[in-house]
């Protein structure tokens, strides 16, 4: 006689799973990774590999020896954190060991200390990144010079990001919008190419991993706000198109602000979240000490996500 399984309804499940979602995010990050390798060469690849492997290793160690739970490294979330962390640092040889510390902070403090995937209030990769930015300010702002594809000369060439240059005085004259769109500018390895990021975001939208609300609200707010400032005084403020193409806005809006765990759940909340991110980014860029503010903006908004979730509820049926 058959032993029957019994449970409450429903008795079927969609083929959606956490693992699938995470690996889809990883796939969406591939274009940006390829562009980074193309522009920054071998260090970009090495930093990425080290970052991903150390994130996975730390997660495995913590789950095995501290939390004593079955390992979840196969679900791909550690890989996402590793890749995003790598994308947020300059592709230099120095980073190879620094990024390991970043991974420890990202996974250990940013994620596992709260109980693992799904329980962390802040985006782990950004926690790691901000920790590194504060602890290793020199290394974290030493950018490799971008000089054509597949560079072979990695000597201590230090370039500048458009944002950094602007903070110092003015944009370098030779940077065009087209450069910024394709990624032919200085910066952290994953954030340079808008086109590669948008390609990945399009994939996520198609697979319904993310919705348009956060990226559009984020980029839209940044564009509008910087546009207003630019109209007020074009000499003191960067033009809005350049603003959204440079720095981490694209990467942040498409991949880090949309992190499911740390962003609001209702559509209205997501719009509010994106708006806050955009606003804070521009405020920090223009009036803060750092030339870039995406990481801080997202982390600040992460911190009020539970409040947004409380306030922004889905529309109920017939109310």
């Amino acid at each position: 006689m058959n032993i029957l399984n019994i449970s409450g309804s429903p008795h079927v499940h969609s083929d959606e799973s956490t693992k699938k979602i995470m690996w889809r995010v990883n796939m969406a990050l591939i274009p940006a990774l390829l562009v980074a390798i193309a522009y920054f060469g071998l260090p970009a690849l090495l930093v990425s590999i080290v970052s991903v492997l150390s994130c996975m290793l730390f997660q495995w160690l913590i789950e095995k020896f501290i939390m004593k739970v079955p390992s979840t490294i196969c679900d791909g979330s550690a890989v996402v954190t590793g890749l995003l962390l790598a994308f947020n640092v300059p592709a230099t040889a120095d980073m190879l060991w620094i990024v390991v510390i970043g991974a420890l902070v990202a996974i250990g403090i940013g994620k596992m200390s709260f109980g693992g995937l799904g329980k962390n209030p802040f985006n782990p990769a950004l926690v790691g990144r901000v920790f590194l930015l504060i602890s290793f300010p020199v290394q974290m702002t030493t950018w490799p010079v971008v000089d054509g594809f597949f560079p072979t000369n990695f000597d201590l060439a230090t370039g500048a990001t458009p944002l950094g240059a602007f903070k110092e005085g003015a944009l370098p004259a030779d940077i065009t919008l087209w450069d910024a769109f394709l990624g032919h500018i200085g910066g952290s390895m994953g954030e340079v190419s808008a086109i590669a990021i948008l390609l990945g975001a399009a994939f996520l939208l198609w697979k319904k991993v993310i919705t348009w609300h956060i990226p559009v609200a984020f980029i839209g707010t940044a564009f509008l706000f910087s546009g207003i400032l630019w109209l007020v005084d074009p000499s003191a403020y960067m033009d809005p198109v350049m603003t959204i193409l440079t720095g981490g806005i694209m990467l942040g809006a498409c991949f880090m602000a949309t992190d499911m765990v740390t962003s609001p759940m209702a559509k209205s909340g997501q719009l509010l979240f994106g708006f806050g991110c955009g606003l804070l980014t521009i405020i920090i860029r223009n009036w803060g000490a750092y030339p870039e503010g995406v990481s801080f903006a997202i982390l600040i908004m992460n911190s009020i996500t539970p409040l947004i979730n409380r306030w922004c509820k889905p529309k109920r049926f017939a109310v």
């Binding site: 409450g8 799973s17 889905p314 529309k315």
Partner: protein, 442 residues
């Protein structure tokens, strides 16, 4: 194409028994008729051991308000009036009948002729529905005479016939539409008369083009029956969602469809209504789908109520496949898993669905990643993830404040959850607790 506005999912349809014509299942040697086949209190047995009964004879009488008559599905001798374990192992009062021959009550018209005219007044129709023990066959088995007795001060404007059959696998309503369209339309006309509404709308999902075409064709001969094709989306057949899809109206929280002038009936019920009113045949048969991906053959049957699951399985496919993991009465989204295959079927059973061990097992649960998929899938605009946390921590008051009682238990949240959390189970538990809390306060 029309559909409801909010949430919903699209599970694999699996309508593999679509083309199996309705067969008649033979009657077994012994029948067990439960007295509790409907929503509400059990009927009171009115036969005793040794009594001779005929097919269609009243054996259980509705003596309380929320109750429905039960009739004998077979002819023979009453063996005993005792209790019997139902499909979920719970003992229910039941009448055991030894089958002898197949002698029907004289009042029942068994000719195949279709009888079109109905001269009864609305009040008489409702009384006859009660007499014949008609209940809603869409799953809830709500006694029909209560539904069609519109309370004072309320007025029905729409009659909506649920032929969406949005549940995966089920095809009994589809077969009824294909094979008994005219009878159904007469049944609908009778219900329309009972309610005094100008128009009846039949909501059919667009994955049944043949049924839409056929019903439209047949409905043309009838006044005020309109076929409404609907986009395929689950839970289209849920009362509130169907009303929203067809009329655009929304039944507010805690209200009934009649509060927005709507009455919803299942397609299978209209056929039962036709037989009851025009042919004097009480509700003694179910139209039932026997289906499953791994079964050698797919069937649709007309089955006497009281036939056991095992009899149905033995007759249709011989025995359950070795790999069977679950037997479900109803569809995969809202059906109930059966544990006792020796249990008799009851009114409203629409399928015997056999699932494989592998497809029936739930996946391992992991942490909620706050993706919000449950919230987007919820057709009532609720927050299942939040209920999960509140129920787990025993915060019943808050669950109530977040309108947990609005949940229609359609299962979209669990279906779409990537972390495999048993959200629907948790919400049901929470609803029970909220109800208990409210009852304790009274």
């Amino acid at each position: 194409m029309k559909t409801f506005k909010m949430g919903g999912v699209h599970p694999e349809e699996n309508k593999i028994s679509n083309d199996a014509a309705i067969e008649v299942m033979p009657v077994g040697k012994q029948m067990v008729v439960l007295m509790n086949q409907h929503l509400g209190a059990p009927a009171t047995p009115v036969v005793q051991k040794g009594d001779k009964v005929k097919v269609g004879q009243l054996i259980g009488e509705a003596q309380t308000f929320m109750c429905a008559n039960v009739h004998s599905p077979v002819s023979g001798t009453v063996l005993k009036v005792d209790s019997c374990k139902d499909a979920f192992g719970i003992s229910k009062p039941a009448v055991y009948i030894n089958v002898e021959g197949d002698e029907w009550m004289e009042s029942i018209d068994r000719t195949p002729d279709i009888k079109r005219e109905c001269t009864l007044e609305p009040k008489e129709i409702v009384a006859k529905l009660k007499e014949m023990g008609i209940v809603g066959l869409g799953g809830a088995t709500f006694p029909a005479h209560i539904k069609y007795n519109i309370p004072e001060g309320k007025k029905a404007e729409y009659l909506i016939i649920n032929a969406a059959e949005c549940e995966p696998y089920l095809t009994s309503d589809y077969r009824v539409m294909i094979e008994h369209a005219e009878e159904c339309c007469i049944g609908i006309s009778i219900l329309r008369k009972a309610l005094g509404v100008p128009n009846a709308y039949i909501g059919i999902e667009s994955n049944k083009p043949q049924a839409i075409a056929h019903m439209t064709e047949v409905a043309r001969q009838f006044e005020g029956i309109i076929v409404e094709p609907l986009k395929v989306k689950y839970p289209q057949g849920a009362e509130k969602q169907l009303i929203n899809a067809v009329t655009g109206r929304k039944v507010p929280s805690g209200k009934l469809p009649i509060d927005v002038g709507c009455v919803v009936s299942n397609m299978g019920t209209t056929f039962a209504v036709y037989e009851a009113i025009q042919k004097n045949k009480p509700l003694i048969e179910n139209i039932l789908t026997v289906t499953g991906k791994k079964l050698p053959s797919q069937h649709n049957y007309i089955v006497r109520i009281g036939t056991t699951y095992n009899e149905i399985i033995n007759h249709s496919i011989g025995h359950l496949p070795e790999t069977t993991g679950k037997v479900i009465s109803g569809g995969t989204m809202m059906g109930k898993a059966v544990v006792n295959l020796d249990a008799p079927t009851v009114k409203g059973n629409s399928s015997v669905l056999v699932m494989d061990e592998a497809e029936s097992r739930r996946g391992a649960e992991s942490n909620c990643i706050r993706c919000g998929k449950c919230m987007n899938a919820c057709p009532m605009g609720l927050e299942p993830y939040l209920f999960s946390a509140l129920v787990k921590n025993g915060r019943t008051e808050e669950a109530k404040a977040h309108n947990i009682l609005d949940c229609i238990e359609c299962g979209c949240c669990f279906f779409s959850c990537p972390a495999n959390k048993p959200l629907t189970d948790e919400i049901r538990l929470g609803k029970n607790r909220v109800r208990a809390m409210m009852a304790a306060k009274k």
